[in-house]
């Protein structure tokens, strides 16, 4: 079908009538067509990219006595405000004014790494010297902000973090900078 017979018509020289040998070649064009059609169908109808998942661990709320005292000097509190804004401060609330930050490589990620190093250095003699990050999403924060923050924690390799409910004074801090 797809082959043109170009061999020419010079086969009548011999006297013997020979049975014509059938070609062993099969035309595969139609088969290829079908295969590609099926491939196209499978590409369209299926999901190749499996969803990725971020594992999170939360404190056991059913037991009352597992609350560990948090040394305030080693904490970094991150407040999530509206419009993907972040504010953070180190140490006890109200002692240092919060820093307004954003979700970029040089934003919160740098702050987390820098502060983590600072705290490790200043608590070098203590039993534990890692930084504890407290994430406090406000009611105006979106789920995306929360996931981004958890992602930053994973990227920067922060050992200890907790998600805590935000308190009214902290909402005031956000409001002061127009982030609530």
């Amino acid at each position: 079908m797809a082959e043109l017979d170009t061999s020419g018509g010079g086969g009548k020289k011999g006297g013997k009538v020979r049975s014509k040998k059938a070609s062993t070649r099969i035309d595969l064009t139609a088969m290829v067509d079908l295969a590609f059609l099926l491939i196209t169908f499978f590409i369209m109808a299926t999901t190749l990219a499996k969803p990725k998942a971020m594992d999170t661990f939360w404190p056991d709320k059913t037991k009352k006595d597992v609350q560990l005292p948090v040394p305030e000097s080693r904490t970094m509190t991150v407040l999530l405000g509206n419009n993907h804004s972040i504010e953070w401060y180190v140490g006890p609330a109200g002692k240092t004014p919060p820093t307004v930050d954003h979700f970029t490589k040089n934003g919160i990620r740098k702050s987390l790494i820098d502060k983590s190093k600072e705290i490790e250095a200043s608590h070098a003699g203590d039993k534990d010297n890692y930084m504890i990050v407290l994430i406090k999403p406000s009611d105006k924060a979106t789920y995306k902000d929360f996931v981004s923050m958890m992602d930053e924690i994973t990227i920067t390799g922060i050992k200890s973090y907790a998600v805590v409910a935000i308190t009214p004074p902290e909402i005031e801090l956000l409001k002061k900078d127009g982030n609530y």
Binding site: V32, F42, K50, P51, K52, D55, T62, L80
Partner: protein, 203 residues
Amino acid sequence: MARIKIPRKSTAIDMTAMCDVAFLLLTFFILTAKLRQEDPLRVDVPGASVKLNLPDVDMATITVGHDKVFFGVEGTDIRRSLLEEMGKKYNIAFTPEETQRFTVTPTFGVPMNMMKQYLDLSADDKKKYVQPGIQVDTTNNSELFNWIYQARIVTKNLHNKELRFAIKGDSHQEYPKVSKIIDILQKQAVNKFSLITALNQGK
């Protein structure tokens, strides 16, 4: 002038190699791909840098977006027992056909009192029907709490495994709603669960 005769060549191309490649690709796609399921609640999943894949079995997904909560659990045997248990709890008797239809529903967001009507809808009507979402509150008796609780019991009984949970949230969903779901999970001492994210490249 003498013409130079160019020998005419056959126009047939050897399709064998192409055919091989095509079928190889086809086999690959059939084996790796999972059929796409239509989500009743469209959510825009936030991106993150994690690369862990979700397991396919003993898995429950809580979808939250547009202030609605949907629930879904993998495995037809688990779905079947789950509906039975929930029916017992809310005093609703489901017919075998309704149970059968429930086993092929990957995610749903209908309150228990409307579940029967929802399962009786035809496939076309189901697509058009806007599901209101599952009722969520922080008491110990909300419907989502019971769905999660019963699903865990059923998985434990049938597969002898802990059911894993994943939250699939919309990027623009405000946090308090997500927080409520996390509270419900924590109340049942489910302290490890996953957040479904899309892979974020080049950030």
